[in-house]
């Protein structure tokens, strides 16, 4: 006989759209936004570090220092657009910027997002003439600005530090946004902040690595990238890039992936050793309805496989291809999709079926 206290049925007559039978308020827009947010955070940090680390006259590694920030601006706009798409009362979006709500991560985030634009733009401007000479020829002012920035070390360092700081804030914010929603036990972990930060870093590194592979001059480009992507490479009109940086990026990416894996482990460990509600939430990923996609897409395809491939690349066993890049980017999206979707299904009241 089951103990009298065992909850055997829970029936709710509520049937509100987006809320029942379980919360499904956030569709693809939010995970995509979180992905772009993380990616931009990663790009900012990498670009910022490079900016600080490089002496101004050493105008190399533009992938990180210019293309990164430029793409960051684009991705940020895309991300904010998907966020906008998610809003259900869109015409009132300006209300975000009429107030600052100190307890609301989303309010913090909306202001951080505003800081990202100037930081990224300054970063991009610093090396823009080298990255896109044709543009510089047409608008000489860009050269002036670039020279003005690069001439002052404190400016360069300032921009770099700003990029790193805002990037870290942005990356952590994308995780904390979910982490503070205590009503959804799966999300209720501060580890989501660093996890999304490092996931963002790994996707950003992978993206830069991918650009590097694609833009490598024709003869050195791996055959695999030949077919369609060479055309793309032409379009970038980039100067030959320092190919030594590719292994650095791959190595960095491997580190970030390893940290990400560790953080996922810690995250699940924390959940599994917490209350029954949290254990139930974690089991959504470990054995429940999201287990297959979690293990296969996030862990297998998104982290382990690129780790293996990049290790092989680093050991010169195989060529650098864009395959690990695609996998890491894909894994980054998958992680956010799964966490967003599984989190919405986790609940304090787990109705039995």
């Amino acid at each position: 006989m089951i103990a009298l206290t065992a909850l055997t049925e829970l029936t709710l007559s509520r049937h509100n759209p987006l809320v029942d039978p379980h919360l499904h308020i956030w569709e693809w827009q939010i995970p995509v936004y979180l992905f772009f947010g993380g990616l931009v955070a990663g790009l900012m940090i990498i670009a910022g570090v490079r900016l600080i680390a490089l002496r101004p006259q050493q105008r190399e590694a533009l992938v990180c220092c210019t293309i990164g920030p430029l793409m960051g601006l684009a991705f940020l706009s895309l991300g904010m657009f998907t966020l906008f798409l998610d809003l259900s009362h869109r015409l009132y979006v300006w209300r975000l910027y009429t107030t600052f709500q100190i307890t609301s991560p989303m309010s913090w985030g909306s202001w951080i997002l505003l800081l990202v634009y100037p930081a990224l733009s300054a970063n991009a401007l610093a090396h823009l003439p080298e990255a896109v000479p044709s543009l510089a020829r047409r608008f000489p002012i860009l050269v002036t600005v670039s020279d003005a920035i690069l001439a002052r070390v404190q400016w360069v360092v300032g921009i770099g530090v700003a990029n790193v700081m805002v990037g870290i804030a942005l990356g952590i914010y994308t995780g904390i946004l979910l982490g503070t929603l205590g009503a959804r036990p799966l999300w209720n972990s501060a580890i989501l902040g660093p996890l999304f930060l490092f996931s963002g870093l790994s996707t950003a590194t992978a993206l830069l690595h991918g650009i590097l592979v694609v833009t490598t001059p024709d003869e050195e480009r791996p055959a695999f990238a030949d077919f369609l992507l060479s055309a793309l490479a032409q379009l970038t009109q980039a100067r030959p890039l320092d190919k030594n940086i590719a292994p650095v990026l791959a190595r960095a990416d491997n580190s970030f992936l390893t940290i990400e894996l560790t953080l996922i482990g810690l995250f699940l460990l924390g959940q599994m050793t917490s209350t029954g509600i949290h254990q139930q939430a974690a089991s959504l990923l470990l054995t429940g309805p999201f287990a297959a996609v979690f293990w296969v897409f996030v862990i297998g395809l998104g982290i382990l496989l690129p780790l293996v491939l990049q290790s092989l690349e680093l050991n010169n066993r195989i060529r650098h291809t864009i395959a690990p890049v695609i996998l890491v980017l894909f894994g980054g999206i998958a992680l956010r999709f799964i966490l967003v979707y599984a989190g919405q299904q986790s609940h304090w009241f787990q109705p039995l079926n």
């Binding site: 055997t8 049925e9 029936t11 007559s13 079926n353």
Partner: protein
């Protein structure tokens, strides 16, 4: 499971919704109306446009956040979503119905309605309702019609009726009528010369109970039951699911009893809502109630726990009764009912502890297993042992207002006896047996029945075995259906007459016996949206077409009502304003001086019934074991949900929002064994191969493993009921068998068994 489970759709319209939702509602109305143009004709585009414009302006007004209080009117009336007819006050804001609340001075509602009453506003604009009289143009049941004027429709009916009268006699027209609104149709038909006027609420619902009580006390339990639940200290419910059955006053009293800590005993194969409030829950095997009742009485008699003084004073045949029940020990009842002997003893003692404030509730819907009149008699006897009839906390003596009827010429002398009960096959049937009329229609015996008038009862849901109903319909020369909605039975009609909604018309006064005498008035709150007419108008016009105009010596209903009220010293003007007149409460308990009159042959409470003995039945109830179902089958049980009335509320968007389809309750262990999960769709197939529509599984710990349960009224097959069409499944579809009560012709329907088939 309570009464009139099986009554048809009527009076169910959605009126203008609440302010904020009008925008959404408007859209729906417009689209549906487009669709409806194909079938139900004559919808003027102007109506739609007009409605929309009003909606729009109101939307603007309400968005501004200010209620124009000046535009608020509060009109008293009484509800008709179920037959309980609670007094209500409708609020009309800017000419639109806004909400309905209980009438604070009405003794039935005591200021509070049930969800169906509150949701009654979502009528009026119901896109599915009937709009204009219709005459069939193709095969019966094909639902093809032409729209006609009222004059054409009524002339058509009158002509056919005259023809039937000439050919077969007036008795060959029969009627099935439910509710207060049928009064004028009865009047017209009596004037025409037939007494074959049946209500499914007798043979399919509360008839067995009333016969069982009348055999014992000479009076029945009443419609508005005379149960003093509020003052009961011990309340016994046997299959009665108060709370799910939402008869307002009873539920209010039930909640008060619970609040006061009354001891509640529930015997039900299903753990009902009432069971969750009970001190004792007895998970009884279906169909074995009499065994339990006999064992209880055995204990009470054996341990001399009964009210000796009361029985000495009022009882008849107690010694024979005692002798008869000697053998029904709790141990004997154990294998029959599955209730432990100790539990039976404990509950019997519990009842006795609180007597006479111990009420064994007579229930309402009581046509279950074919032995129902005897079952009700056993309940009546148990109440008698407790001395609760006529006592506080038991079954009180109700009182009623008296108003003279409007004078009319005498009805023509009775010709042939009614067709339903030839040779008094069911000697204790004291009303017309609806299934008997159906049998007579099919067989043509004792005489042919060629015309049916169906008012406000969906026979496809209210009579068991739809096939037989359809076969009877095929024998008819005329089938007239008066209804608010295009119900399933309307689909088979030759002529469909659209009645106006209960919020759009006057009806006769509501005068019922209750704790205190009262009169309530139904008056129009809003105008009917289309060419619908009130029942009194239709019945009067039909009488005039039949040349019986003399029976309606008044011009309109206000004149009729005013004249009746004047007869009691009241006026319509006052009642329109007040809505309710409550008289002084007379003594309703024996101890307060209420008369202890028993209209039985012995003029006493008959523990031993000589009437039954003479007719060849058991003078004291006996138990027969219910027949088991085939292996692997589940017994099909059905009942009610608080937010729906029978099959008549499934087009009410507000109520459907609360419960949009029914589910079949399956014991959780059984469900797991069958591989069924909560929410899976299944179909039920009964022992005769009838298959239900698809229905969701509710895998629950709240039901015995060998039966399944569903809420009655869903699974509509009438295409015109677009909003309700094929939502959930209908138990009526699966009730192909019934067992007739030999005493009074009631149809026991819990004798059907089903298997569960997974939906592909």
């Amino acid at each position: 499971m309570s009464c009139e489970e099986r009554v048809g759709s009527s009076d169910l319209h959605h009126s203008a919704g609440p302010t904020g939702s009008l925008k959404y509602r408007k859209k729906r109305v417009a689209t549906v109306m487009n669709l409806s143009r194909r079938r139900f004709l004559q919808i003027s585009a102007g109506t739609v446009a007009g409605l929309s414009a009003v909606d729009l302006t109101r939307r603007v007004v309400s968005a501004a956040g200010k209620d124009a209080q000046s535009g608020l009117k509060r009109i008293p009336t009484f509800c008709n979503v179920c037959f309980w007819q609670c007094g209500a006050i409708a609020s009309v804001r800017d000419g639109k119905l806004w909400k309905i609340e209980g009438h604070p001075r009405d003794p039935l509602s005591r200021g509070r309605l049930c969800p169906r009453g509150s949701g009654g506003i979502d009528a009026h604009t119901d896109p599915d309702r009937l709009r204009t009289p219709l005459i069939r143009v193709s095969e019966r049941g094909e639902e093809k019609w032409k729209a006609v004027t009222w004059d054409e429709a009524l002339s058509f009916i009158a002509e056919k009726m005259q023809k039937i009268k000439a050919e077969y006699g007036p008795e060959s027209v029969a009627a099935f009528i439910h509710g207060l609104g049928g009064k004028f149709f009865k009047h017209t038909l009596r004037a025409y010369g037939t007494d074959n006027i049946a209500a499914p609420s007798f043979a399919q619902c509360r008839g067995p109970r009333d016969v069982g009580f009348t055999l014992t006390y000479g009076d029945d339990a009443g419609s508005l039951e005379r149960t003093d639940i509020e003052n009961a200290q011990c309340l016994v419910l046997i299959g009665t699911h108060l709370g799910e059955n939402m008869h307002n006053s009873q539920v209010q009293e039930f909640a008060n009893a619970v609040g006061k800590g009354a001891s509640i005993i529930v015997a039900d194969p299903r753990f009902s809502v009432a069971a969750s409030k009970a001190r004792f829950y007895l998970p009884i095997k279906p169909g074995t109630d009499i065994a339990l009742l006999l064992a209880w009485m055995n204990v009470i008699v054996g341990e001399k726990l009964y009210d000796k003084e009361y029985i000495d004073k009022y009882g008849f045949g107690f010694e024979q009764f005692v002798a008869e029940i000697q053998s029904y020990t709790p141990e004997w009842a154990y294998p029959e009912t599955g209730i432990e002997p100790e539990t039976i003893r404990a509950t019997a003692r519990e009842m006795a502890r609180y007597r006479p404030a111990t009420l064994i509730h007579p229930g309402r819907h009581a046509s279950w297993y074919g032995d129902d009149a005897q079952r009700s008699r056993a309940i009546a006897l148990l109440n008698a042992l407790m001395g609760s009839w006529g006592r506080k906390g038991g079954l009180y003596v109700p009182a009623s207002m008296e108003l003279p009827d409007y004078p009319h010429p005498p009805y023509p002398p009775a010709g042939k006896a009614t067709a339903d009960n030839p040779n008094d096959r069911y000697p204790f049937a004291d009303e017309v047996i609806s299934t008997g009329i159906r049998d007579a229609t099919i067989s043509g015996k004792p005489y042919p029945v060629k015309g049916w008038l169906v008012y406000s009862t969906n026979l496809m849901y209210s009579l068991p075995n739809r096939e037989e109903t359809i076969r009877a319909i095929q024998q008819l020369d005329l089938l007239v259906v008066v209804d608010v909605l295009p119900s399933e039975i309307a689909g088979w009609a030759d002529v469909v007459l659209p009645e106006s909604n209960y919020l759009e018309r006057y009806d006769d006064l509501h005068i019922e016996a209750f704790r205190e005498p009262f009169i309530t008035l139904r008056q129009p709150v809003v105008e009917p949206p289309d060419d619908q007419k009130p029942n009194w108008w239709i019945a009067k016009k039909l009488a005039e077409k039949l040349g019986l105009g003399a029976y309606y010596p008044w011009n309109d209903i206000e004149q009729y009502l005013d004249a009746r009220l004047k007869g009691g010293g009241y006026s319509l003007e006052d009642l329109k304003r007040e809505g309710v007149i409550v008289g002084k409460r007379p003594p309703i308990y024996f101890e307060d001086g209420a008369p202890a009159v028993f209209n039985t042959p012995s003029k006493k409470i008959e523990f031993y019934s000589t009437q039954l003995k003479q007719a060849g039945f058991d003078p004291v109830p006996r138990y027969t074991r219910p027949e088991p179902g085939p292996a692997g089958f589940y017994r099909l049980l059905f009942g009610r949900a608080p937010m729906h009335s029978f099959s008549r509320t499934q087009t009410n968007h507000l109520l459907m929002d609360l419960m949009s389809e029914n589910a079949v309750w399956v014991n959780a262990t059984e469900a797991a064994r069958l591989g069924l999960k909560n929410g899976d769709y299944v179909r039920l197939r009964n022992q005769d191969g009838a298959v239900s529509d698809r229905i969701r599984v509710k895998a629950t710990e709240r039901i015995r493993p060998e039966c399944v349960y569903m809420v009655h009224g869903f699974g509509h097959t009438s295409r015109e009921l677009r909003f309700a069409f094929r939502k959930g499944a209908s138990d009526s579809q699966l009730i192909t068998r019934y067992k007739t009560d030999p005493l009074m012709g009631g149809t026991g329907v819990n004798v059907n068994f089903v298997t569960i088939e997974t939906e592909a």
